[in-house]
Symmetry: C2
Subunit: 439 residues, 2 copies
């Protein structure tokens, strides 16, 4: 037998600086303290916080930051000789977060960030900079919180051509939809409840209008399809226009309503869309409750992979951030988007109108003679074939609710029919339509 | 701005040899051919099969192996100068697979294996050898097929102390249970159907007796808890003793029956058990249908992570094997069980009898006076408190079916009561009990 090799010298600690100590930053501090020994065993070296920076030194954060050097100026974290990794938890697509990220990478230090807005808008240039400096850019926490979905796709599914990636990427919306489902609540009431329980912000637009999900989707799409990040072509419809009847009718049809971000690369280009969808009851996304997130990736060899977990919160987000730090400690990292930026394709936006599927359509109409004929005519003229039609006489949103399900057809035909109907004097408010998720 | 660094030289191809070309081996060949260019972009270098070896050169495998050098002797794959990675798909805990694995690592070459039996029995010594030689030992395909759960736990959840890991680790059993559920079939009929459809082997014992799941569980436990692999202390109960009434009663109680492998490290030691359980309808494991696998890991910061996908089959298994190869191509690998073997704890087996929970108990009894009193007395004498008791008069298995659910109590009390009842002349066959999965 060959003799054992001489024991290698223990590796020096990995030295981390935290920028922005809010809820997530506090979680990272607590995690690194609580699981300190375990992490050192797994990482092969200790991970030490050496410095922290935030706006207000004297704010009560419920954690003791006194063991760590305080810097009023975040730039000092980058400049410090004893910092190997900067964790950006400042937030915002531009401004101080972006400046810090660029400084960190330019200095050849590792950057860990949870900032999906910054990545969606500047991920490519940051990845380019990281490559030039041969330094890690890691962002597990930016998509689906604690679920290690970036790793699962970047590495776990790396052998596959991915056909589609989609999921529930915003916990606030899913919480609201679950409330509407369980309690028959209106959107407004469910939003108010979500705000009272801390699941939605005072200004909820970032979440309920689908912007946050769009940021995450653009990151997933780049990773799955080897395309350049393109947030500008993500079409986004939020959940504000849902009414209680939509949830009820979906249920009657054997479906649940979920805000789904979906990306697919088809012959025409890259399709990226965030919108409420009807999810069939035999799809696992139909069972994702409350503020959880879930992501589905469909690979050409592995088939359908499904990942579910907490999409936000101090603990889960800290878990993802520290997983990134451990990867860095292990020297297990590579190009941010799985391949060098120059190897990423520039894909045009797909022709979304040509996508074929079944749709749920809901209109609120005045209860008068001729309205049904008007709807049927608009559908026929646009070439939309109707599979089922439901008018229960339910009143909501200032009129009578009519719901229908179309046969398979191009999205463009639905849009044309709804444009016609939206202009009708007998239709109240904006028509709603949701694709039915194809299995 | 700093100038771009000089372009680095392209990395040489990673050269792979395949040992054992059955269904999975064929899948690996097809995958590496089909996704060749994509994989090269993601891996940063081409991945090339250079040699293959299997028992019968002339067997029709439906794939063209002529581009690859054939070796009758697997050992030649290890000896060849042009092989960097050996993929072991021979199977079996010992024998030729183990010899090949040891030779590969001893030669300082990378080993990729899907062989859970070999890892469960020899994983520690193989990991030790890999460390001594500083060469990768990767085994994503050994647990839960295409689901990248080894990576998700080893790296994605690496920041967490894991409280419990559990899941559906055998697709054959889940397929049978799903058939019993959907069609009210007996175990025997469902097994026959599964065999006819290729989901179960002619000799199904390895799957239906829980041995395969036990192998996988022992690997997950080592990875989650930083303990030395210990297959010998995995207690295993398969699904043979389930009757149709069990599935029906579980459903009536709002549960589904699943074969669950669960590991937990408690104060007394390491608990590892494979057994049928009642899974509550609001747990995602209740919705895992057919031959799918699913794994749950509960981390102290991330909370509950849930992963689902195909647990077997050529495509999914090849996906996992090639993901390992891509990691090796990227030089992203570390100790097989997340930390060096010498850092793994030797945990004693936990006191399984002390575990507290609710149980489902089912007996088949002779329909005569006094049987109920006998059951109630045995339960009382053992200190088991009964929450609900069901006797619908259904006959199955040569008698009348009685099902009951206990209040929370130690497993040891249930065992004692059932030992008493098993000895009764009025109880037909072995009593069945299943823990109710606690959320």
């Amino acid at each position: 037998m060959s003799p054992s090799p001489a024991p290698t010298a223990p590796r020096p600690p990995l030295r981390v600086a935290l920028a922005g100590i809010g809820v997530v930053g506090g979680g990272v501090v607590r995690l690194l303290e609580t699981n300190r020994d375990l992490i050192a065993r797994r990482a092969g070296r200790p991970i030490e916080i050496v410095a922290v920076s935030a706006r207000d030194r004297h704010k009560d954060r419920g954690i003791d930051l006194s063991p760590y050097r305080w810097e009023d100026d975040m730039g000092a974290l980058v400049a410090a000789d004893d910092v190997d990794v900067v964790v950006e938890m400042v937030g915002g697509a531009d401004g101080p977060a972006l400046t810090l990220a660029r400084q960190t990478l330019a200095a050849g230090k590792a950057l860990v960030t949870a900032n999906k807005a910054m990545l969606a808008h500047h991920g490519l240039s940051l990845a380019q900079l990281a490559e030039e400096k041969d330094t890690p850019l890691k962002y597990e926490a930016a998509v689906a919180g604690g679920i290690p979905v970036i790793k699962a796709i970047r590495e776990g599914a790396s052998a596959n051509a991915i056909a589609r990636v989609y999921g529930i990427l915003n916990g606030t919306c899913n919480y609201i939809l679950t409330l509407m489902e369980r309690e028959g609540a209106s959107f407004a009431d469910a939003l108010t409840a979500a705000q009272a329980e801390g699941y939605a912000e005072a200004d909820p637009s970032f979440d309920v209008d689908g912007i946050d999900a769009a940021h995450k989707l653009s990151i997933l799409a780049a990773l799955c399809f080897g395309t350049k990040l393109d947030i500008d072509t993500v079409a986004t419809t939020g959940i504000r226009n849902l009414i209680a009847a939509d949830i009820r009718e979906a249920e009657a049809l054997g479906h649940r309503v979920r805000l789904i971000g979906m990306a697919e690369r088809d012959a025409s280009g890259l399709y990226q869309k965030v919108q409420p969808c009807l999810v069939p009851a035999d799809h696992p996304l139909a069972y994702v409750p409350g503020a959880l997130n879930a992501v589905v990736a469909e690979g050409n060899f592995v088939g359908r992979l499904f990942f579910e977990g907490a999409g936000a919160g101090a603990g889960p987000t800290a878990s993802a951030i520290v997983a990134d730090i451990i990867d860095i400690a292990r020297d297990e990292y590579g190009p941010a988007f799985a391949m060098p930026v120059e190897a990423l394709d520039q894909a045009p936006a797909a022709d979304a109108g040509a996508r074929v599927g079944k749709h749920y359509v809901r209109l609120v109409v005045e209860d008068r003679i001729g309205v049904l004929a008007e709807i049927a005519t608009a559908m026929r003229d646009a070439g939309v074939s109707i599979e089922s039609f439901i008018q229960r006489g339910d009143e909501e949103g200032g009129g009578v609710v009519i719901a229908l399900v179309t046969h398979e057809g191009p999205a463009r035909a639905i849009d044309a029919a709804l444009d016609t109907l939206a202009a009708s004097d007998h239709v109240v408010g904006a028509p709603m339509h949701m694709p039915i998720l194809a299995l």
